[in-house]
């Protein structure tokens, strides 16, 4: 039996009160609910506070480079598509340094679950603006405030026809768990942008700030309607929708790679006798 205890890891090095704790809790709860064992899942992460998550639970782990979790996850899935692969990442990691991989992963529709701990700031490096930092926010390295437009991951997802795109809120853990489960059960790429208060560096987007604004997307909302989804994705300000914003039924990448039809590559035996025949082509 898989229990919460099964997923006990190192003591987190996060600040007390950090929104990441709730996300970690949700993650473990979902794994328990899905009765996945630690060795049956792989968590890939980059660098940042969020990216430390796999160390704070038990799972196969590839904690790689800042911004580069998605290509690693893609490689893992192509080598072993029987292995559920989850990426835990930050807004800087995924929308900043790793932006190009995000676009590619969405387009591939690789069956990877992407959980972005979006604290709208670079936490681990002490408070620089991230792509989701609001315009005008002042930081040590931006004394006149952020000029770049705030990145909207949901709008991007809809624009690139992302298989599954949702928003969660760390402090609404029950709701987050529902969304996470949906993502896990979705076949194909799934992005969850998780609003995550950073109690140390983000003095704007606090628990209160989010609590006042977030609302559960209406039950009659149809996430398969792309225009509606685009409209929903643009809601940000006084009201911030959480829940599944967009989804479609694009087949997952792995299903379309002919070589994977015979099962995971890693379990396909290598037949070295073929090479003799290939050599003949050069005669």
């Amino acid at each position: 039996m898989v229990t919460l205890e099964t997923f006990r890891g190192q003591t987190p090095a996060w600040c007390p009160g950090c929104g990441n704790f709730a996300i970690l809790k949700a993650f473990k709860d979902v794994m328990v609910e899905l009765q996945l064992e630690p060795h049956q899942i792989t968590v890939v992460s980059g660098i940042g506070q969020a990216a430390k998550l796999p160390h704070y639970t038990r799972c196969n782990t590839f904690n790689g480079l800042h911004g580069r979790a998605l290509p690693v996850a893609t490689g893992i899935r192509l080598a072993n598509h029987a292995m559920p692969v989850i990426v835990t990442t930050g807004d800087g990691d995924c929308y900043g340094e790793g932006g190009n991989h995000l676009m590619a992963a969405i387009r591939r529709n690789i069956n990877v679950k992407l959980f972005v701990h979006d604290n709208q700031i670079y936490g681990l490096t002490k408070g620089q603006p991230s792509p989701t930092t609001g315009e005008g926010t002042v930081a040590k390295n931006a004394p006149f405030g952020v000029i770049s437009g705030q990145f909207n991951p949901m709008a991007l997802a809809v624009a690139l026809d992302c298989g599954f795109a949702a928003r969660g809120f760390a402090a609404d853990t029950a709701h987050l768990e529902v969304v996470m489960k949906e993502a896990m059960n979705h076949t194909g790429f799934a992005l969850i942008d998780i609003l995550q208060p950073c109690v140390t560096f983000n003095k704007v987007n606090t628990y209160e700030w989010y609590r006042k604004r977030v609302y559960h997307i209406e039950p009659d909302y149809n996430p398969e309607d792309r225009m509606a989804a685009f409209s929903k994705s643009l809601e940000w300000g006084d009201r911030i929708p959480i829940g599944v914003i967009y989804r479609n039924n694009r087949p997952a990448f792995e299903e379309r790679v002919p070589m994977l039809a015979a099962g995971p590559l890693v379990h396909q035996a290598f037949d070295s006798s073929r090479i003799e025949g290939t050599l003949q082509e050069f005669f």
């Binding site: 190192q10 090095a13 064992e37 630690p38 060795h39 049956q40 792989t42 890939v44 660098i47 430390k52 796999p54 160390h55 038990r58 799972c59 196969n60 782990t61 590839f62 904690n63 790689g64 480079l65 580069r68 998605l70 290509p71 690693v72 996850a73 893609t74 490689g75 893992i76 899935r77 192509l78 080598a79 072993n80 029987a82 292995m83 190009n100 991989h101 676009m103 590619a104 790679v257 002919p258 070589m259 994977l260 015979a262 590559l265 890693v266 396909q268 290598f270 070295s272 073929r274 090479i275 003799e276 290939t278 050599l279 050069f282 005669f283």
Partner: protein, 575 residues
């Protein structure tokens, strides 16, 4: 018998089709063949050529003097006429070129007209030209007919027939009209040989090693590896994925390798520059990966389609922090095959990145071989997987061991988790901050493995006079031309070639003390296709030995045998 043929023209005129067909026919006729190419970074126009040498003895480089020039444009005549041997011939289609070469060396063969009249479409002019060359050489057209049948099979019988007729027209025309043709390539005992180029050999080596995943971003001269592997995707169950950029390419390969399959990426200098952080990640996580790195002249975009050996020093130290790596620089397609296999073996055995460092010249040159010896191919699965993994009571990915090599397990195969981390970590793979663990991990990852890896490196090949007073040293793709130069010079000089194809780390001085051998020489020369002498500097850093003379070339072109001999002769005076 030793002839050189050059096909020159614009990009898009089909030089490569003619060249490839001729090479194949020569090989099937029992000759040894060497070919290399010269082309610009454009798709149409400009000036390109394809140079073929055929001989009844093994050959491994191009020569300066050309016996037959197939000129598909005026430029080819202007540029190459002076390279003609005394009895050499230039064939051209005077009406297509609007130029009729004067003098005995010129033969006007109306490729287009013959193609139209015999094949029915002037599009087959190149087939006519191919047939014509065979005619000039006094060779039969049988092998060409077979080749045409194979090449055009998928286009239907009509096309095959038309091309055969066109080829025969060229063949006949040349035979009848080339009075001066004294080429005697007609008869050879037919042995079965293979003809293969550098990129195909690397790809083949990967397939033979059980490579199952190749992620790359297109870049000359490495793209051929991706294309070849892609053509075998289904047959070998190898997944070839075009990555969004080179950063993704190496990180995908690392992911696939972590997940338990043999993985590779390929690129050129500029693309590799983007992989450097990923290389360091391979070092830290001890993830096996093979990287095919095709050099071309830099810096930056440089000469995208030409050759250089300018990235050795870069590869030796690429990546932040310190970690072991191996660099192989094959001297021929044959070596490329075997060394790619060795790369996969070493990469997995020691859990490190291993490079196949080639260059445009090797990528595009074709050599003949009797065959590749599959008995030399090593296929050991060093991974802990399946039941063997399941049975373990306990598992730590980075466990301290006597050798520094920790068990490399396949995640998912057992109840244990496999944890790797780009931060400094403990035996389990979790982040640490303490000094003691760090020190032990550096020892494990780097210092303990280093001597073991070095012991795997084969000594350089010593060819020629074992007591040579002149030693010509080189590495990588210059093997063939060095060997031929030494053969030639050996007639009058005590000379040897010392060739390194396993360049980093340098091999141990046991059993063969190459540094001592070099010190004994009256004249030691190091030749490299770069401007700063990267290999000679490496040798000095490792052994203290300094060469007497250096030959550097950095114009993007490979040496012909004569050119290299000329350079060497310039130094011989100094003994």
């Amino acid at each position: 018998m030793d002839y050189s043929i050059k096909i020159g023209g614009e990009a898009g005129q089909g030089i490569q089709t003619i060249g490839d067909a001729l090479c194949r026919v020569f090989v099937r006729s029992g000759y040894h063949v060497f070919s290399h190419q010269d082309y610009e970074s454009r798709i149409r126009g400009g000036h390109n050529f394809y140079q073929i040498r055929l001989s009844n003895k093994p050959i491994s480089a191009s020569r300066n003097r050309i016996d037959i020039i197939v000129a598909l444009d005026r430029e080819s005549i202007n540029r190459h006429e002076h390279e003609l041997t005394t009895n050499g011939m230039i064939i051209h289609d005077a009406s297509a070129l609007r130029f009729n070469g004067e003098g005995a060396a010129f033969l006007d063969i109306p490729f287009e007209k013959l193609a139209f009249e015999h094949g029915g479409d002037k599009i087959m002019a190149n087939t006519v030209a191919t047939g014509a060359v065979l005619g000039m050489l006094g060779m039969e057209s049988g092998h060409l007919m077979e080749l045409i049948a194979g090449t055009f099979r998928h286009k239907g019988d009509d096309v095959v027939q038309a091309n055969k007729i066109a080829a025969n027209a060229g063949h006949q025309y040349a035979k009848q009209h080339c009075d001066r043709c004294a080429f005697a390539a007609a008869v050879n005992e037919v042995e079965k040989r293979m003809l293969i180029g550098g990129v195909e050999s690397i790809a083949l080596g990967a397939l033979a090693s059980g490579c199952r995943f190749y992620s790359a971003y297109p870049m000359t001269p490495s793209t051929g590896i991706m294309n070849f592997l892609a053509s075998k995707e289904n047959e070998y169950g190898v997944v070839v994925e075009q990555a969004e950029d080179e950063i993704a390419a190496i990180n995908m390969a690392l992911g696939a390798s972590y997940a338990g399959v043999r993985a590779m990426t390929g690129t050129s200098g500029g693309g590799f520059a983007l992989m450097v952080e990923g290389l360091s990640l391979a070092g830290m996580t001890e993830t096996p990966v093979v990287i095919a790195m095709g050099q071309r002249p830099g810096p930056a975009t440089g000469f995208p389609t030409r050759t250089e050996q300018g990235d050795l020093a870069f590869l030796i130290s690429a990546g932040h922090g310190e970690f072991p790596r191996v660099i192989f620089a094959p001297g021929s397609p044959g070596e490329a095959f075997y060394l790619t296999n060795k790369a996969f073996d070493i990469a997995e055995k020691y859990q490190i990145p291993v490079f196949i460092l080639f260059d445009t010249y090797l990528a595009d040159s074709q050599w003949t071989f009797d065959s590749f010896d599959l008995g030399r191919v090593r296929n050991i699965d060093y991974r802990l997987r399946g039941d063997a993994f399941k049975k373990l009571p306990d598992y730590k990915r980075h466990a301290f061991t006597e050798t520094g090599i920790s068990p490399l397990a396949v995640p998912g195969d057992a109840g244990h988790v496999v944890v790797v981390d780009s931060d400094e970590h403990d035996e389990e793979g979790h982040i640490v901050e303490d000094a003691a663990t760090r020190t032990r991990m550096v020892e494990k990852r780097l210092l303990m493995k280093r001597p073991l890896i070095k012991a795997e490196i084969a000594p350089p090949e010593l060819y020629g006079d074992q007591e040579a007073s002149v030693v010509l040293t080189g590495w990588g793709s210059t093997y063939g031309v060095m060997k031929e130069a030494v053969d030639e010079l050996a007639k009058s000089t005590s000379i040897a070639m010392l060739h390194f194809s396993e360049v980093f780390p340098l091999p141990n001085l046991e059993p063969f003390d190459y540094a001592a051998f070099l010190r004994k020489a009256m004249l030691s020369i190091c030749m490299e296709h770069n401007a700063t002498g990267q290999f000679s500097r490496l040798l000095r850093a490792e052994t203290g030995f300094e060469f007497d003379a250096l030959i550097h070339r950095y114009d993007g072109r490979p040496f012909t045998v004569e050119e290299l001999i000329g350079e060497i002769n310039g130094h011989l005076g100094n003994i």
